[in-house]
């Protein structure tokens, strides 16, 4: 009895069929954190050919005009299968939606169909050295020149920039008293002269992080997203999008499945069963929350609090799954390349994605700011 069966309209099955056939042909190996680390342009193109990228975008831009809940069906199944989706994930989740909301019509027609076909790889040029979670601390500049902008600066921690066709860049276009003001968003073609990508190996030894340097990189005017100097407001919206996704919950799903498999060998151990029950309840609630957030977006709402909650609790769920694996004593002498160690080594990065817990909790508390004395009326009416 799935409470969501009615919404799925075949998307789940189509994703599952593709993933199953690829796995059956040994074309990928499921792993934790696959949406960040398993990069295969062929898989992304195959997915695009099936019409499974950008499903919630209008058909005139190559999308399927489906709902956000349909899109959730797609992303959940991809995460469940731990499919190699890193090549298109950022474009589908972040950059595409930003272009759709704020991009010029030319930019939309140029990029969105190619994102949908799996031909575009996007990187995010947001963080800078010394910024940490202070994202407004942007030193990269974009100076107006005839026909566009010249970008100069350095971006850090840009995943897959070395493989990207395009990079989203947050740059300072004006000095204003409040440093959140005067920022603008651009989508830059990685083939433009003046861009240098330097690799940063992460602690697992893998290369997805990069430093990207921009020296007098020309960006045509139509690649500015939305309003000049208004980037902070736009990017804050984007972060609230980014927060609502199931990739904040399901990064460790392959390990969760392995925990269940091993725990099943101890049917008499009630403590183990209780831990599994607890894990299940948390996952079920979080998946429901993903579904609620997608539904709210479909209704035109901006469910900032729910999305932030999902991110805080989803990250905690991912970390908890790694700790539980060890705590239950189910993973003893694991080889270094095992799922357990792979997930453990990836886990320190879980909480860094899309804002530290403090930032998210601040978002939650700001949502409560304007509330009157008795909040129940709001809870009750918003709830049903």
């Amino acid at each position: 009895m799935s409470t969501k069966a009615a919404d799925d309209t075949g998307y789940r099955r189509r994703v599952r069929d593709l993933c199953t056939s690829w796995q059956a042909a040994d074309r990928y190996l499921p792993r934790s954190d696959a949406w960040l680390r398993s990069f295969d342009p062929d898989f992304s193109k195959a997915l695009g050919a099936e019409g499974l990228i950008g499903v919630s975008w209008p058909t005139r831009y190559g999308g399927a005009g489906a709902t956000n809940r349909d899109r959730l069906a797609v992303t959940e199944e991809l995460l469940r299968a731990a499919a190699p989706v890193a090549a298109h994930w950022t474009a589908d989740r972040q950059v595409g939606p930003a272009i759709l909301r704020h991009g010029s019509d030319r930019l939309r027609h140029e990029l969105l169909p190619r994102i949908c076909s799996g031909d575009i790889v996007c990187a995010i040029g947001m963080s800078e050295a010394e910024a940490g979670s202070d994202l407004a601390s942007v030193c990269t500049t974009a100076r107006a020149v005839p026909g566009g902008w010249l970008v100069n600066g350095r971006k850090l921690w840009t995943s897959h920039a070395h493989r990207a066709t395009h990079i989203y860049v947050l740059a300072r276009t004006a000095r204003m008293p409040r440093r959140q003001d005067g920022l603008s968003e651009f989508v830059v073609d990685m083939a433009t002269p003046g861009i240098t990508v330097s690799p940063i190996a992460d602690m697992t030894g893998e290369h997805h992080f990069n430093e990207v340097a921009f020296v007098d990189v020309f960006v045509p005017q139509y690649r500015l997203l939305g309003n000049q100097d208004d980037g902070w407001r736009q990017v804050t919206e984007q972060l609230s999008f980014e927060r609502g996704g199931p990739e904040r919950v399901l990064s460790t799903y392959p390990l969760v499945v392995e925990i269940l498999k091993r725990a099943a060998a101890r049917p008499a151990d009630t403590a183990t069963a209780a831990h599994v029950g607890d894990l299940t309840a948390r996952l079920a609630a979080l998946r429901r929350l993903c579904w609620d957030v997608a539904g709210a977006v479909d209704r035109g709402e901006v469910p900032v609090m729910e999305a932030a909650t999902l991110k805080v609790l989803g990250t905690r769920f991912e970390q908890h799954s790694v700790e539980l694996a060890r705590k239950l004593g189910l993973f003893g002498e694991e080889p270094v390349d095992s799922l357990f160690w792979q997930t453990l080594l990836a886990s320190p990065a879980f909480s860094l994605r899309g804002g530290a817990a403090e930032v998210l909790l601040d978002l939650v508390s700001r949502q409560e700011g304007g509330r009157g004395r008795d909040t129940f009326v709001h809870h009750a009416t918003a709830g049903g």
Binding site: M1, T3, L260, V276, R288, D292, E358, L361, G383
Partner: protein, 335 residues
């Protein structure tokens, strides 16, 4: 929220003005018979029962709204127990039309035939649904009974009833044990969620009003974040609660048991976390008898393990998962 639910919510609001909630006062309260009589007169325990079975119509969702709202205002009533018993006994001819029924849950009583059982609010009952661990539920009506009155940590009745002359109704007319536990589990979740909202509201007011180190407590980042943590627990519990209600609406009561278990576990965890954070943020004020907080936190502590403990729900859900395939885990148990 349905139209009925909105009306019900307005009704609770209105009742809360007539029978002031204990939010403002922390001292021990008598069992609130006057509010309860009014709820009975209004037929609220018979929400979710069709009119041809003596009910007032509506769905479980509507009943859940009333349970949650009363709990947020801090009113303690036998609504969860009485409405579950009334639902179970609908259409059973032997049930007295007016008398109150309650529910005795499995771990509270031992063996068959049942003459002696423990039930929350038992002192008010004329009949009871007795849920057994390994046998179908029974409906027992009784004229006279010896009642040993006790209370849980929240001061609510947990009574032992010894029946003198009883009529035992054939279990065939009653819902299954799973169905009963599912329905009661949802309403217990509603009560926990409502109480947790009440705790959150009290705490939010407190940190906005109290000053320390020359500024409102709420301006201290650690305080603000602790409050936001409570809020995330409420959001999560609400999601799990609605998921259980959807399952009840969309399938058989027995199928709802798995989502109910999940909701009940999440609600229990939120109850524990909210109680802890609320007391931490209240400081000494929160541990005085006069201030209302402990009246809410005691209920969280009592109810998180009421009927079926959190640990038992977790074991049960875990055992179900461990006998399932990944397919079922994904498609059914967590979807």
């Amino acid at each position: 929220m349905s139209e009925l639910a909105q009306e019900l919510f307005a009704l609770v609001d209105e009742l809360n003005r007539r029978f002031p909630s204990p939010r403002g006062r922390g001292h021990a309260e008598e069992v609130p018979f006057s509010l309860w009589s009014t709820l009975m007169e209004l037929g609220l325990p018979r929400i979710g029962i069709p009119e041809h079975h003596g009910g007032v119509g509506g769905e479980l969702d509507d009943l859940a709204v009333v349970v949650q709202a009363l709990a947020t205002y801090g009113h303690g009533t036998p609504l969860v127990e009485a409405s579950t018993a009334a639902w179970a006994a609908q259409g059973v001819a032997a049930v007295p039309a007016t008398g109150l029924g309650v529910v005795a849950v499995p771990h509270m009583q031992a063996g068959l035939p049942t003459r002696r059982f423990q039930a929350r609010w038992g002192r008010l009952a004329h009949w009871a649904i007795v849920v057994h661990a390994d046998a179908p539920p029974q409906l027992i009506t009784f004229d006279g009974a010896d009642v040993v009155e006790e209370a849980d940590v929240a001061g609510e009745p947990v009574d032992t009833i010894e029946v003198q002359s009883a009529v035992v109704v054939d279990a065939g007319e009653l819902p299954s044990q799973s169905a009963l536990r599912a329905r009661m589990g949802i309403l217990r979740t509603s009560a926990l969620l409502g109480t947790a909202y009440g705790v959150y509201d009290l705490t939010r007011e407190h940190v906005l009003q109290r000053r320390q180190f020359d500024r409102p407590l709420a301006e201290i980042p650690a305080v603000r974040h602790a409050l936001a943590e409570m809020r995330t627990g409420l959001v999560q519990t609400q999601a799990a609660h609605e998921r259980a209600l959807d399952a009840w609406r969309g399938g058989t009561p027995e199928q709802a048991l798995v989502p109910v278990a999940a909701a009940r576990i999440i609600a229990a965890q939120t109850a524990s976390a909210c109680a802890q954070v609320a007391h931490q943020l209240h400081g000494a004020m929160g541990v005085t008898n006069e201030y209302a907080l402990h009246r809410f936190t005691r209920r969280l502590w009592a109810w998180r393990d009421a009927d079926t403990t959190e640990r038992q729900w977790a074991e049960e859900l875990g055992a179900r998962v461990l006998s399932a395939s990944e397919h079922e885990f994904w498609e059914v148990l967590t979807s």
